[in-house]
Symmetry: C2
Subunit: 152 residues, 2 copies
C-alpha cells in the first residue's frame, strides 16, 4: 500500500479526534496486520469502493470508546448502547469521508458504517492484500486504525 | 426498505449457495433487526455505496461456516484459518456482487469483504435506518443474511 494512500487516513483520524473530541492522538509505528489480528472490544468499520476498494476500521477498548463518545457528544456515557454505537460509527464515517477527499487521483466512495462489539473479536481482510495497523495513544487510551486498500 | 431492494439479496444468497456449494437454502420470514442483535460466530461483511449505501452481512455458526467452506473449496476443513476467512469473505463478495446487478435503477458498488470472528459478536447499523435479517435453514445448518440499505 502506498504511503500516499495511508497518510490521508492517519491525518484524518488525528484531525477528527482533535476537532471533534479535543483529544490529541499520538500515532505509533504502522505495522502490517497479521491474520488473525485481535481487535479491541468495539470497532467501527466502513467499506470503500470506486477507484480503490477496501475498508477502514477504528477499534477501541470498551473504556476508551465510552470516553471518546462522551467527549464527542458532550455528555458522560457509562453504558454501551445505541448512542455509543451510533457515535462510534459516525466517527468512522467522518474519518473515512475526510480521508477519501485527500486520496489524490482516486475517486472513492464510502458505505455506511457498521459497529462491531464483542470481546476478542477479530476482523480479517482477504489474504494476499496488505492491511496496515496504525496504533494511536492518547490521554483517553489506545485506539487502532486499520486500513486495507486495493487500487484497481 | 423496499421489497424490490431486499429480494435481490435473498435471491443472490440462495443462488450462490445452490451453484457454488450445492446447498439448498430455505428462507425464513424476514424480520427487522433490533439493536443490539447477536450475530453467529463468523460473519462476512461488505459495504455498499453509490446510489444506495449500506452493508450486507452473512453470518454463520462456526460449525456451519466450516461445512459451507468445505463444500465451497471441495476439501474438508476442520479448523478456522485464513482459508476459511477468505472463503467466507468471497461468498459474501459473490452474493453482494450478484445482488447489486439486480438492484434495478440503482448503480451500486461494493467494497472488499471483511470477516468478523468472535463468539457473541454483534454488528450494529446506524439507528434510524432499517436493517433486515433474513434467516435461512439448510442441510448444513442456519445462516443469517443481514441487509442495511439506504437509498439517496
Amino acid at each position: 500500500m502506498k504511503v500516499a494512500f495511508i497518510n490521508p487516513f492517519i491525518i484524518a483520524t488525528i484531525t477528527t479526534f482533535d476537532m471533534m473530541l479535543k483529544v490529541k492522538l499520538l500515532p505509533g509505528k504502522p505495522e502490517i496486520k497479521s491474520q488473525p489480528y485481535p481487535s479491541f472490544d468495539i470497532s467501527g468499520i466502513i467499506g470503500l469502493s470506486g477507484d480503490a476498494i477496501g475498508s477502514v476500521v477504528l477499534s477501541y477498548p470498551k473504556i476508551v470508546a465510552l470516553k471518546a463518545v462522551s467527549k464527542f457528544i458532550g455528555t458522560e456515557i457509562k453504558i454501551i448502547g445505541p448512542d455509543v454505537t451510533d457515535a462510534i460509527g459516525e466517527l468512522t464515517n467522518i474519518v473515512a469521508g475526510s480521508a477519501k477527499a485527500d486520496l489524490q487521483g482516486l475517486n472513492v466512495s464510502i458505505s455506511l458504517p457498521s459497529v462491531i462489539m464483542g470481546r476478542n473479536h477479530q476482523i480479517s481482510n482477504p489474504s494476499g492484500l496488505e492491511s496496515l495497523i496504525i496504533p494511536f495513544n492518547s490521554e483517553i487510551g489506545k485506539i487502532n486504525l486499520e486500513v486495507c486498500l486495493k487500487t484497481k
